[in-house]
């Protein structure tokens, strides 16, 4: 017993190392395997507020760009207004339309923390459960898709960006409606993603637009990017192609969280079916 104690005190550095290292790895493994909500991330009050303060300063520096973007967006919206269309029928009547029911809701948010240069990238935004955000919602911006909500707290949320090794989206080519899987490219360029598992019979062409498909958690037709290279490795029975992303992740400032109002209903129904099998 005494020898054991002497042994432990002599090599105390090693034993302390083991204890702390195992502690750290347990925290790391737990967070990654089960995606548990954890205190140690930027949704907690201290780090969230730090980032919010810092972002106020940063936002000021990019006012010019943001103004341009807003003006462009306004112009686009104005084009959609009824008043900017010329009506060529004389008779007008108002119809109380009950055929349409709003399925997708958009919640605006500001990006207060962002990264593009790591293997797995995350963003933090300044809205949370108080604004109706829940885990698993999609996030887009005015140019295209951004990612999925991963952690939420009352005032902040963490988004797993498209630039992450586990992020996959269902996408389709705009002309043929051929579906495929979109994920971040192996080259780790924040501008390039890879569209794979497109069936062999379609003939995509360079510069063709890629949008979200009906199977994704976004509304169908949200732009993603354009096909930039058709000849990539690992063809097999499927076509793979490179997509140049429309969103510049490095300068992202404002995003919209997409709330699919029927999402839960659909998921519940599909879960029932799985149980039957």
């Amino acid at each position: 017993m005494r020898n054991l104690l002497i042994f432990i005190t002599k090599y105390n550095a090693f034993f302390l190392f083991l204890i702390f290292e195992i502690g750290a790895l347990v925290i790391y493994g737990k967070y990654n395997a089960f995606q548990k909500a954890s205190i140690i991330n930027s949704t907690n009050n201290v780090t969230g507020n730090f980032y919010a303060r810092y972002n106020e300063l940063e936002r000021y520096l990019s006012l010019q760009d943001e103004n341009d973007k807003l003006a462009r967006d306004n112009a686009r919206m104005r084009n959609l207004l009824k008043s900017s269309y010329y009506t060529d029928t004389v008779a007008k009547r108002r119809v109380n339309d009950t055929v349409y029911k709003q399925q997708y809701e958009y919640i605006p948010a500001r990006v207060i923390n962002n990264s593009v240069n790591r293997r797995n990238n995350y963003l933090t935004i300044n809205v949370g459960t108080d604004a109706g955000i829940a885990r698993g919602m999609g996030v887009i911006c005015d140019q295209g898709i951004v990612g999925i909500v991963r952690e939420v707290s009352p005032h902040f949320s963490v988004i797993q960006s498209l630039l992450h090794k586990d992020t996959r989206f269902s996408a389709m080519l705009v002309s043929t409606k051929a579906r495929g899987t979109l994920k971040w490219d192996d080259g780790f360029d924040p501008q390039i993603a890879q569209l794979s598992e497109v069936t062999n019979n379609v003939q995509p062409h360079l510069g063709e637009q890629v949008v979200t498909s009906e199977l994704s958690l976004f509304p169908a037709g949200v732009p993603i990017g354009r096909v930039s290279n058709l000849h990539t490795k690992n063809g097999g029975f499927f076509l793979n192609m490179e997509v140049r992303l429309a969103v510049n992740f490095a300068t992202l400032q404002y995003v919209y969280v997409v709330n699919n109002r029927f999402g839960q209903e659909q998921a519940g129904l599909e879960a029932l079916q799985k149980k039957d099998e």
């Binding site: 190392f17 204890i19 702390f20 290292e21 502690g23 790391y28 780790f188």
Partner: protein
């Protein structure tokens, strides 16, 4: 004694703020990412008890993790760093012969020792960090490039910081 604590506390706050608000946004060609915050662990005094050293390293890692959204990743790399630090110091430095609690800074230990010390510890830390972050052998080439280039960047920043706070009178 209290002066040492105060200096280290200020160093901790400054390094974390610099890491989180400045260096986090700096990358060279998406490959080279500096993690200067480990300088805090490197510069803790020689006489620090092992337990305190590990606890501080763990805490530093967790604080950085909180800002980087990667719980446990930096903490585990920092604990490894603390262990390598103990080994390296026990091999290269004789504990006797210092007057009042010295720190392993560039001005006290001289350029050659400090450069070796910083390089070896940074290499261990970065190697562990980048491999744990990716956790797959299929991207080993990319991980390795990032690891080497980031280490060079970090050590460069450490030496620059050391020279900035160089105090001639401490030199033996």
């Amino acid at each position: 004694m209290s002066r040492t604590i105060l200096i280290n506390l200020i160093r901790f706050v400054v390094l974390v703020l610099v890491q989180v608000f400045l260096l986090k946004n700096i990358t060279l060609y998406d490959l080279s990412i500096p993690y200067l915050y480990i300088l805090f662990i490197l510069l803790l005094p020689f006489e620090i008890p092992n337990f305190l050293l590990f606890a501080l390293a763990f805490l530093t890692g967790l604080v950085i993790d909180a800002f980087y959204d990667t719980p446990g990743l930096h903490a585990s790399a920092c604990v490894l760093l603390a262990f390598v630090r103990i080994l390296f110091i026990s091999i290269t430095v004789q504990k006797e012969g210092f007057d009042n609690d010295p720190e392993p800074t560039l001005s006290v230990m001289g350029f050659r020792w400090f450069f070796t010390y910083a390089s070896i510890l940074t290499l261990f830390h970065h190697f562990f960090l980048f491999n744990l972050e990716v956790f797959s052998l299929s991207e080993i080439q990319y991980t390795f490039t990032r690891f080497v280039l980031s280490s060079i960047f970090t050590v460069f920043l450490m030496v620059v910081t050391g020279l900035l706070f160089f105090r001639r009178k401490e030199r033996k």
